[in-house]
Point group: none
Chain length 125, copies 2
Amino acid sequence: MHILIDNKSGTPIYDQIYSQIKAQIISGQLQENEMLPSIRGLAKDLRISFITTKRAYDELEKEGFLYTIPAKGCYVAPKNVELLREETLKKIEDHIDQILKLAASCNLSKDDIVSMILFAMEGQE
Amino acid sequence: MHILIDNKSGTPIYDQIYSQIKAQIISGQLQENEMLPSIRGLAKDLRISFITTKRAYDELEKEGFLYTIPAKGCYVAPKNVELLREETLKKIEDHIDQILKLAASCNLSKDDIVSMILFAMEGQE
DNA sequence: ATAACTGTATATAATAATGATATACAGTTA
DNA sequence: TAACTGTATATCATTATTATATACAGTTAT
């Protein structure tokens, strides 16, 4: 496991750990059911509190990227295509929300939006 | 002008003022170039500090919903429909591009996206 | 001119949210 | 039982948010 903490980056430590591990899981660099470094071990490496590594792991677990066996360790969760799909859908929904807000602010109708999207789709393919 | 402050709603006072005035401007209930209540007068009515009403007005001005003549008052901005619309459309298009990229990454069809949007629209209204 | 009104600018205070932590605990394993 | 796992609770510092007071400067009508 290779984690790099940039202290002068604005993003919090737990977030950097979270993102890097997540990326390694998604990319397959970390294999299914592979044991992750212990929260304490990793914390020691990074010279931070293990509470911070725990926070990163908690987040990853909440999103289904790892599972924990108490007193044993944390493991990479079997890859769940559905999970990735869910995440993507969530992002899309966020964009849609933004669009709807924008549309409301200048009184665009439903149809206007739908046709904008259809138009964009044709342009792409 | 009719503003209603709900103290036990979670949303901050300045935000409630901002939203309600904005809605009245967009709906046409407040007419172009109409003078808005002075920040002090409104504050007195609502029994809050005028700094709070000022904050709401500042936000509205930043977004182009009103203009201010110092020492005179605040007025409903002429609806610059064209400009606002162009800017908003550009933002919406950016979001659509993002959505299409995300959709492609998990093999979502056109129809899937359109129906997501329609669903979101229903949820909002 | 001056009283009564406009908006402005700067500084302050209370509260809430965020980020990171220590310490004490409980289960697992060699 | 020593050395390791993760857990739970409480704490602390920092930052962001919300609302405010006070002193200022321009406009307007008396």
